[in-house]
């Protein structure tokens, strides 16, 4: 009772009347109600603007649900741009998406395995930045919730709690609850750069690398490497996710294949200054748990025309690369199926 009195007297030093306290609460309540209304309206508007993006993401999942693949290709914008789905057969399913890190790959693999018994192989990228803090920072698991309901796996991989998962699940319906969506909203509203905004994190500039001069190529490459490989180049969290992936595959009898995707000559040359040997050492150490590690880093070093930018293949490059990858994976599958028996 004492605290109740103190509460009232604190809120109303003058008359101490309950009416004044009620007025403050009513006023505050109305302010919040109007705020929620405006927020809801803006959020609905935003959801309408990005429905194509959502649809594109969900299409990847839909397409997957219609297939019965043997191999699932996971990863970020590297495989997404390097694998041309027109060139590859139904043995393979591409679940890669720009910005995906190893945590997301585990969750996608878990989803894939839980709905397709046919999957026996998983292909993951083993690029320099795959273990970097740059990838660790991509801690938004909202889009994982589009398809996965394995909340235990999500909380364990992201080191988060169920409350946070619920919040993110809610932000799928009220997207502006997620602060990063406000930035995208601004981009869409102001610059009318929907495409850029929608792929902001992993935008691949549609330009031909071979048309750029050396200075521009070096500046772009250094900027890219700085973003991707800022210290620490090896994040403990990402190594843990890689180990999680390895043990997940072992427990589920999935053969793991690593791919080191093609990059430009400039990228190969300049990456040396960023401590990449640490990453190479980890891959070397874990090499035996992979069915194979296919190293394509240098295959197009002399073909700048195959690149859209310093570490992404152009459509033309992807076409050529997909055939090479498919051929190599095909050989592996023949031997791998035997070894899995």
């Amino acid at each position: 009772m004492a605290s109740r009195n103190s509460f009232i007297s604190s809120f109303d030093p003058g008359s101490k009347s309950k009416r004044s306290v009620r007025r403050v609460w009513i006023r505050t309540g109305w302010f919040i109600v109007v705020f929620i209304l405006i927020f809801g309206l803006l959020s609905t508007h935003y959801a309408m603007l990005v429905q194509n993006d959502q649809a594109a993401y969900l299409r990847i999942i839909d397409r997957f649900s219609e297939s019965s693949p043997l191999v699932v290709i996971l990863g970020d914008s590297h495989p997404l741009n390097a694998v041309d789905m027109q060139e590859i057969d139904e043995t393979y399913a591409l679940l890669a998406h720009g910005g995906d890190n190893l945590r997301q790959m585990v969750i996608k693999l878990d989803y894939a395995v839980s709905c397709k018994q046919s999957i026996k192989y998983a292909v993951i990228p083993l690029d320099y930045h795959s273990l970097a803090v740059y990838r660790e920072r991509a801690g938004d698991f909202s889009r994982d919730l589009y398809y996965s309901s394995n909340y235990q796996l999500i909380t364990s991989l992201y080191g988060t709690n169920y409350l946070n998962v619920i919040f993110h699940k809610l932000s799928l319906h009220v997207p502006l609850l997620d602060a990063s969506n406000w930035e995208r909203y601004y981009l869409i509203l102001t610059a009318k750069m929907e495409n850029k905004a929608l792929a902001a994190s992993e935008a691949v500039t549609p330009e031909n690398w071979s048309l750029l001069n050396d200075q521009k190529r070096n500046i772009d490459t250094i900027a890219r490497l700085k973003g991707q490989l800022e210290p620490p180049i090896v994040s403990d969290e990402m190594v843990r996710a890689l180990e999680f992936m390895i043990s997940y595959c072992k427990n589920n009898k999935i053969a793991l294949i690593g791919v080191r995707y093609p990059v430009t000559a400039e990228y190969l040359e300049l990456a040396g200054a960023f401590g990449i040997e640490q990453v190479n050492d980890i891959y070397l150490e874990k090499a035996e748990v992979f069915l194979a590690i296919l190293d394509y880093r240098e295959i197009f070093a002399e073909s700048p025309g195959y690149f859209a930018n310093t570490d992404h293949l152009s459509a033309e490059g992807a076409k050529v690369f997909t055939n090479i990858l498919q051929k190599d994976l095909g050989s592996l599958l023949e031997s791998g199926v035997e070894s899995l028996k």
Binding site: A2, S3, S6, F7, S9, S10, F11, D12, P13, V24, F31, V34, F35, I38, L42, L176, A179, S180, W182, E183, Y185, Y186, L189, T190, A191, M193, Q215, K216, I219, I222, A223, K226
Partner: protein, 493 residues
């Protein structure tokens, strides 16, 4: 826990509701627990440093006051200074001192094998150490009675709104406020929230937007030249102001909601007409701290001229090092010291020149020129503050005007990543324009604020005007904000 997070929003709402629900005698306990929780949400183990600082200052102050003779008073003051500064040196400067000693000894051919070590800098250590030190010195001088209530004193050192990045409060101002019974005041509540909102706007909409450019360019400035370096340096001048004053606004606003008045930390610093004036407007709680506890004890201006100059340089260099353990901060402080000395030495010459060109006949123009010159001097000095090494700082300073003519003829390509005009800025053209627009809004607001108290005017206006203004600021901030770009700059100090 960052001020710009949902966690803080929930934390603050819970603290405010509990605070006004509790009787006065329990409120200090709530605030103390909240402050320690707030601090421990970053790196829990560093709470022991905070506790140690609190204990050292509390006990030494009691003994200072109890001691009858000057010798024992000095001994206890010495214990407080050595203990608090010792912690600061170990946790903030040990790595820097070790590396510097290694370099110097290697240079003169002496082997030095002490292994390098790096400790994660405890958040806010420079701030709460200085706050605790000022208390010890105030008690020693007899300006303040020692605080007997340990809980109140612990709260004074750790009060969460200003624990991590100030304002550095004085015991004579803050401690007595804990004794006063605070009643909920709707106007005060509104004004405090307004200030917090304005601080958030400055941080996420302006500072973090500009941080994209600054971080992009200053990560490796040797890749850029000319106008790109100039823009990045101007951007940093605005970024650091909006970042730090934004933090201070949130801190002062949060404390105000709870019924406490913290000191004003910024007073439109980029409208300063001289370097001296700038330091009376920028990070006021620190500059007055240095004035009261270092400059005046050194003798201030009441000593021989040369000694006075030495005092000025010493204060500025120490102020630079307070910000960070590095030669760039030392250079930044020294540069401000040199500015200050030059302003003294050439005072008469400036006056004569002003009269010669009849600038004194146009006081408004004269003031504008002085503001512009001061702003550019301060901005130039920021290069040393922001650069990651002395070589980077020197490169930026030396390459500011390279190819400036190309920029003039290619101004339309700004923000398009064109190498012709010094390289990519990291922000699109529309983002750059938005940043520019927001800076203009900021300065116009500051000019109006100097004439009218906008916050009070808004708070007292009718609801149909007041609420749309609040919603506009809230949703404008959300929409124009950049998120997760950078933590508050002063957290690293």
């Amino acid at each position: 826990m960052s001020f710009i997070s949902l966690n803080f929003l929930i934390f603050f709402a819970v603290v405010v509701i509990l605070y006004f629900s509790l009787p006065h005698r329990f409120r200090w306990l709530l605030l103390l627990c909240a402050s320690y929780y707030f601090y421990m949400s970053a790196v829990p183990v560093y709470v022991f440093l905070l506790l140690t600082t609190t204990l050292i200052s509390y006990v030494s102050a009691l003994y200072i006051a109890r001691s009858q003779d000057i010798f024992h008073r000095r001994v206890w003051l010495g214990i407080s200074l050595a203990g608090n500064l010792g912690l600061l040196v170990v946790f903030k400067y040990a790595g820097f001192l070790n590396e510097s000693a290694q370099k110097i000894l290697e240079h003169i051919g002496l082997g030095y094998n002490l292994p390098g070590f790096s400790i994660l800098l405890p958040i806010g250590i420079s701030f709460y150490t200085f706050q605790a030190l000022s208390y010890s010195m105030d008690v020693y001088r007899g300006v303040k009675e020692p605080e007997k209530h340990f809980g109140y004193f612990a709260l004074y050192v750790s009060f969460f709104p200003q624990l991590v990045a100030g304002p550095i409060e004085r015991s004579t101002r803050l401690l007595p406020q804990f004794y006063k019974t605070v009643q909920f005041d709707y106007l005060r509540f509104t004004l405090g929230l307004q200030l917090m909102l304005w601080g958030i706007f400055k941080k996420v909409a302006i500072a973090d937007r500009l941080a994209v450019v600054v971080n992009h360019v200053y990560a490796d400035p040797t890749q850029f030249h000319g106008i790109t370096l100039i823009i990045a340096t101007y951007a940093f001048a605005i970024q650091i102001y909006c970042d730090f004053s934004g933090y201070s606004d949130i801190a002062v606003g949060a404390a105000y909601v709870l019924g406490y008045d913290l000191m004003q930390n910024f007073r439109r610093p980029y409208f300063a007409t001289s370097i001296r004036d700038f330091w009376q407007r920028w990070h006021i709680s620190l500059s007055t701290w240095f004035r009261d506890y270092l400059y005046i004890p050194l003798g201030g201006g009441r000593v021989f001229r040369v000694r006075w100059y030495v005092n000025i340089m010493a204060v500025f260099i120490i102020s630079g090092l307070w910000h960070g353990a590095g030669f760039t901060f030392l250079a930044w402080g020294a540069l401000h010291g040199i500015y200050y000395l030059f302003s003294i030495w050439f005072k008469e010459m400036r006056r004569a020149f002003t009269e010669l060109i009849h600038l004194d006949a146009f006081p408004v123009l004269h003031k504008a020129v002085r503001i512009l010159i001061t702003f550019h001097m301060v901005t130039f000095a920021w290069i040393f503050f922001r650069a990651e090494s002395m070589s980077d700082a020197i490169y930026v300073a030396a390459n500011l005007f390279v190819d400036i003519d190309r920029f003039i003829f290619n101004i339309g390509k700004l923000g398009q990543g064109n190498a012709l005009i010094g390289g990519d800025l990291g922000l699109s053209k529309s983002d750059l324009l938005t940043a520019l627009m927001l800076i203009v809004v900021l300065f116009i607001t500051q000019i109006i604020q100097s004439k009218v108290n906008i916050r009070t005017a808004v708070a007292k206006s009718p609801i149909w005007l007041r609420w749309p203004a609040y919603y506009l600021l809230i949703f404008g901030t959300l929409l124009l904000g950049k998120y997760g770009i950078q933590e508050f700059i002063y957290f690293q100090f």
